[in-house]
């Protein structure tokens, strides 16, 4: 009976603390109207590469907020970290679309006042109030950057240049393939199947009924003999490609950039079937201890300069199109390389991460939910 009490107490406390419910209340109710004095510290949960000294040091110097970053390798880890210690351990999290809704509905994050972030008005329209971080008119964070999960290959050992995701499912590269150790990878398999086996009728790789789900899992099971290692940390994949253990695989652009800087002959691309991707939001913890520093950080990372730096470093696309000319100044041609200012059509072509739920959105409620994805992934890995 210990847990019952805990849940009730926590929910009651959170409900009291959060005077803004998740639907239909005018903004300004409980939201700050100015940014106060910095508290001197900021605890972040971030993807690897999101808190590099080149933009963190100037921030600390300007605001006096010392940044402590804890890295997470998957959205699930982020959700867990945000909930640890009763929810007040960390102030902010750079959640992707598949974690953000879970955090919102789990009441782990609080709404933010977008009027305090001047650069928010300049964001591309699709990322001002996207459904993955805006619920019922309330903004639960500020969009940050977005990008695709690409196909990484060793240019010397993989010829001709691959054009399809089938490359990571074919026995041609047996024992030299690597894919992320993340249940959301099932969506990548589903995306491939949506084009290679149209009879399955997969429209959205995150909304899979039992039949479609089984097909995706079967494809991943067939892929097992080809895999050298499921990479769990970004540095895993960097090691794999650097040391000759893998020559083709699925990646984030961060690894591509790091490998190229380490003079490994690799390139990445988006194959013809398209790609899954992620759109990240900096979200504010419901029980953040340092909200003023948090707002200062939101302001800072939305400025064109920082957006450009981060985009080039990680290999992603800024939400603020004013960063594009700066990107070209820092690294010629980088704006086009990372699709800065890309068309809305390109944006729509990326299947951004979102949490699989049973409600398929087409009236039916027979889609597989995330617990089933996670169980299936653990079991298929062996």
């Amino acid at each position: 009976m210990i847990r019952i009490k805990r849940a009730h107490v926590l929910l009651a406390a959170l409900a009291a603390a959060l005077c803004v419910p998740a639907a239909g209340v005018s903004s300004g109710n409980g939201l700050p109207t100015t940014i106060g004095k910095g508290e001197g510290q900021l605890n972040l949960v971030a993807w690897e590469g999101y808190t590099q000294p080149q933009w963190v040091k100037p921030f600390t110097k300007a605001t006096g907020c010392k940044v402590n970053a804890k890295y997470a390798g998957s959205s699930d880890e982020m959700v867990t970290l945000m909930r640890s210690g009763g929810g007040s351990q960390y102030d902010m999290v750079s959640a992707s679309g598949d974690a953000s809704l879970r955090l919102i509905y789990g009441k782990d994050v609080q709404p933010v006042n977008v009027n305090l972030i001047p650069d928010w008005k300049n964001f591309i329209p699709a990322l001002k109030s996207p459904p993955h971080n805006t619920v019922g008119g309330q903004h639960y964070g500020i969009s940050l950057q977005w990008g695709p999960n690409t196909l990484l290959y060793n240019t010397k050992k993989v010829t001709p240049v691959p054009t399809s995701w089938s490359a990571i499912y074919s026995p041609r590269f047996k024992g030299k393939v690597t894919v992320p150790d993340n249940p959301i990878q099932i969506a990548d398999a589903a995306l491939y199947l949506s084009k290679s086996q149209p009879a399955l009728g997969i429209k959205d790789p995150y909304e899979l009924n039992q039949n479609q789900f089984n097909a995706a899992v079967a494809l991943l099971k067939a892929q097992k003999p080809l895999i050298k290692k499921y990479w769990a940390l970004a540095s895993d994949e960097i090691d794999l490609f650097k040391n000759g253990d893998a020559i083709i695989g699925a990646t984030w652009p961060y690894q591509t950039n790091t490998l190229i800087a380490a003079k490994v002959p690799v390139k990445d691309l988006i194959p013809k079937e398209g790609a899954t991707g992620w759109a990240d939001t900096w979200m504010l913890s419901a029980k953040a201890k340092h909200p003023n520093c948090a707002y200062m950080w939101l302001k800072w990372v939305s400025t064109p300069n920082v957006q450009a730096q981060q985009a080039i470093y990680f290999g992603e696309t800024p939400a603020n199109p004013k960063a594009c000319p700066i990107m070209n100044q820092l690294a010629a041609g980088s704006a086009a390389q990372y699709h800065c200012g890309a068309s809305a059509a390109y944006f729509r072509s990326i299947k951004f991460w979102k949490t699989p739920v049973a409600d398929c959105g087409n009236g039916q409620k027979n889609c597989m939910d995330y617990t089933q994805w996670q169980q299936a992934w653990t079991q298929l890995k062996g």
Partner: protein, 268 residues
């Protein structure tokens, strides 16, 4: 005396095992000078740049200091609780004696992740925010048994009649402790304390669940390993740690050896 050939064979085996233990450590020290930030063989070039970076990085210093404090506190608790428990078990027969022994071993025998999860849930339930205190609580659970075992083993080997003799000679409890008990168990406590400190300083799994936003040295290293961008810093830190701890460990071994007199009264 063993045969010459036996001694020679055992000696060679010893050399091979020691080499096996130290080859990776040698690689760590060599790669602290790696001038590429990605680890690969053979080493592309050498630089001392990373030692300077590690020295100047404030997060490294903060993490080391946090680890030292946590280890000192946990070892302190372990020394007090462990010796108290060892004394009780060694000297008294009571119901549940074996159970107590078993329960004390549990934190080290059970996977760290179970201890970590359990403590994390406990702290969340009691609204205790994660901090140095929670780290120390987590570490103490498995440090106690290390001191307890050493102290217990030493007490078992010494004779209870020493205490009676001391009382017969008119000493009160405090004097008995100071002049009789303490010399017997002091080196066992040093040995146990040293092992407890090492374990606490290097612990990562339980700390991950009890540390919150701050980083101890192992958590910081885990972060660097995740990034994969500055691995030589980690190698540099490890190399310095190895070199710094040679002296204390050698001293500790000397200490333990010298007072074998009481323990090994029957051995020679």
């Amino acid at each position: 005396m063993e045969q010459r050939s036996t001694r020679w064979a055992l000696g060679s085996w010893t050399v091979l095992v020691i080499l096996f233990l130290w080859l990776p450590l040698g690689l760590i020290m060599v790669y602290a000078f790696n001038n590429s930030n990605v680890q690969s063989w053979p080493i592309p070039g050498f630089t001392t740049h990373w030692f300077r970076v590690a020295w100047h990085a404030s997060e490294v210093r903060t993490a080391i200091w946090l680890s030292v404090r946590a280890a000192l506190l946990a070892t302190g608790f372990a020394l007090v609780l462990g010796s108290a428990a060892a004394f009780a078990i060694a000297r008294f027969r009571f119901f549940g004696r074996e159970t107590v022994s078993f329960l004390l071993v549990l934190p080290i025998a059970l996977p760290g992740i179970i201890t970590g999860m359990a403590l994390n849930s406990f702290f969340v339930f009691n609204h205790i925010s994660l901090s140095l205190t929670t780290i120390v609580i987590g570490h103490s659970t498995f440090c106690v048994v290390l001191v307890y075992n050493n102290a217990l083993a030493r007490l078992r080997r010494s004779s209870p009649s020493l205490l009676e003799a001391s009382a017969d000679l008119g000493a009160d409890g405090w004097q008995t402790f100071r002049f009789v008990i303490w010399p017997i168990i002091s080196t066992a406590l040093v040995a146990g304390g040293l092992l407890a400190f090492a374990l606490s300083f290097d612990e990562v799994v339980v700390t991950f669940f009890t540390a919150g936003a701050q980083n101890t040295l192992p958590l910081l290293i885990l972060g660097y390993i995740r990034l994969g961008q500055q691995l030589p810093i980690v190698n540099a830190i490890a190399s310095v740690m190895i070199l710094l701890t040679v002296i204390p460990v050698a001293l500790a071994q000397r200490l333990m050896r010298d007072t074998g007199v009481v323990a090994r009264g029957t051995a020679k």
